[in-house]
Amino acid sequence: MVIPKSFPVHFPTLTRVNNLDGAATAVEDLKTYISQYLPLIILGHFPAAQDLLTNANQLCTQPGALPTQRVLWLTDVDILSAVKPQLDAAIKSGFPTKVYNYENIRALSIEPASGKAVYLIFVDPTLSPDPTDKRKALSTFQMQRAFNAAISLIPDTSV
């Protein structure tokens, strides 16, 4: 049984963009976060972050957005290191045959019930050997698709 938890926000106005408390509890907190939300996890700093995160927040509040949709933006190096094995395992679990470089992953969405990664967004999609990834750079378009992929896989009994 995972106890519900509140997570810090990066910006007071973006209520659906969260952070983790710190590296020490990152693994456990991430587990909690995934279990109580439908997350899109964004890794590291990226250009035009303010605009894209505003849009990401909007994707979580727009009509048609699941109430549990959240964006977890991880920028702290220690936290990123701490959760790397956990996220890498989620990717391997969701894409068992995919060839990828973890360092090239910018964001991923996770289906909460299974804990599997269901959509990947890349730092530089051209580096991915899979030609279908070539347009999967971070954008509002790809974030929406990432959420769509996760929603599509939610078991019918969940809310």
Partner: protein, 631 residues
Amino acid sequence: MKNLQFKVAMAALISFAATLSCRAQLTPSGIFTLMEESTSGKHMDTLPQTGPAIVDINSILHIKIDLAALEDEMFRFQGISGSDARLEKLKMFNTLLQNQNMILKLINEKFSGSATPTIEDYKELASQSEFIMGGLEDNLDDELWDELTSPAMEQQFSTFDGPYIVFVINFLAEKAQLLRESLTEQLNVNGEADSSLLIFFRLGAFIKNKSGGRPVHVENFDDIATDSYSEISSFSAPLSDAEKKELNNTRLLNDSIQSNTGQATFSFKQLIKSRINNLFPSDTSRVKLKTVYRSKMMELNQSNATKPAARILVDNELNLGRVDQFYTLATETYQQFAGNFPKELLNGDSLDQTFDRFSRLVNNSLNQLKGDVSLYEQSGSRLSSGEPPPGAPDLDIVVNAYDSYASSINQDISGIKSLFSDIRSILDPFRKAYLANEDFSDQVLRFTAGSIPPIGLIELKYIGERKAGDEILIKAVLERGKKEGNRNFEQKVLLRRYVTMSRIAVHVKMSGSVILANPYNRASNPAITLQNKFQFSPTYGIFLKWGSRKSKFYNDFVAFGAGLSFSSPDFNLDGTPEFGSGIIITGFRDLLSAGWGWNFGLDTPYTFIGFNIPFSIGGIQSASPEGFLED
């Protein structure tokens, strides 16, 4: 071998008959999908692309349009090459946008206001959105992709009041519209599209039956007002007084129209028949002319002196023969027009032209003969005696007979033309209705590419009076320009599909008939004093009936029913009927029935067969099937 030939001949005959019975229908696959939705909404099925399409008389017809395929067809009709990259791109955009209305509807209905969406609704929205977004990621060219994901567009979305998928739909729709404008650019004159070259799409429907037809409203596609609500009841119980009055008014109007048309047809055919039998009054003079002509020709040919006169008749005999041939042709034409009344009469003026040509031929022949005879007679004045040349009086007799024939013909033709003219003016309203039968009025809207609704609806309950067996003709066309008289005007029919309305849903029917009842265990019941095996008895049946969406034959001829029967047999022959009740099965439009019943007066079972045909047995008058055949 003979048997084989017979079979081949029969097969050919059947196939020929089948060909004859097929009406011109055009059902291009891909663009239009016809669907039937039952009144309750429980039944939703796609109608077949070909073959009989049968729907319930109270249902709703959906005409779904594949806009991508339709716009592609429209621009090709405009003259754009199928390999034009813009057309390919537009087709792709339209294909991706095909579910936009479904997405917007889903958002409005499930995710707005106080609606409480289920997880299925979220998944449905995600799935529908993915159709567009996945398609865009896979197919959009680099330039548009970069634009869609550009910082400027990201900035735009941050201030957009709505879901991201709507933002994407708007982007795509705007690009599709730009492509349409680019494709119609060649039609522009002074910056505006030449409306005589623009391609318009129109969709309409007509109800058709033996009394003609009229347009019916197709939602989203015309301004035709809906007709009065009229549901064909599933229980044929008596109507309310108000409904009866309303129906009666409609029926009176309809009957009056039908009876006028029927009467006009009948009268005209009678008239034609009498004319044909006696065609024409000139026919007598024609026979007389031929007799006179031949006898005088032979007579004059017998003497050398009169042979030059005979020569004139020989020379003109060919003309007479031509008149004779044309006379036969005119008679046949006349009969053909009579047979196809009023269609042929309403369609044009060719009948008048035929008779005009006939009249000219007769007059020319007469003038030729008169000229020849006049020349011959003038040659007599050169004779020393001044006497007319030999045979001239005989020639005058022939000319007089010919003259009389020509006069009577001209009189006949004038009479016939006048008759047709009168009939035409009487039938002018019918002519207009007939021609308007399949022609779209201006109430049927014209749509250019980009503005076409994806679906049209025909609610059969709102098309006014209709009967089982009536048909709905659904027609879709492309038109170049708005005015038919314009030299650029061209029409291409994309869809002509007949849909037959039948009573498919289970309904109750009541009917009286005569049965032959057989109390089969009379041996164990001494009260039964019947001598014959069967006894005639009146019966009244209340039964359930149902139709078929697959078989017109079943609906028209078989049409089974099952229910209860109530009869009054008199098995003890005491003159007082007993009461009997049982189960009944009817078939062949209730003409035949069979069942099992129980005579409550004598406590005995019986089986029965029944006939619902108009005959009287033992003073019992069976009901006329006519009333029952009419649903």
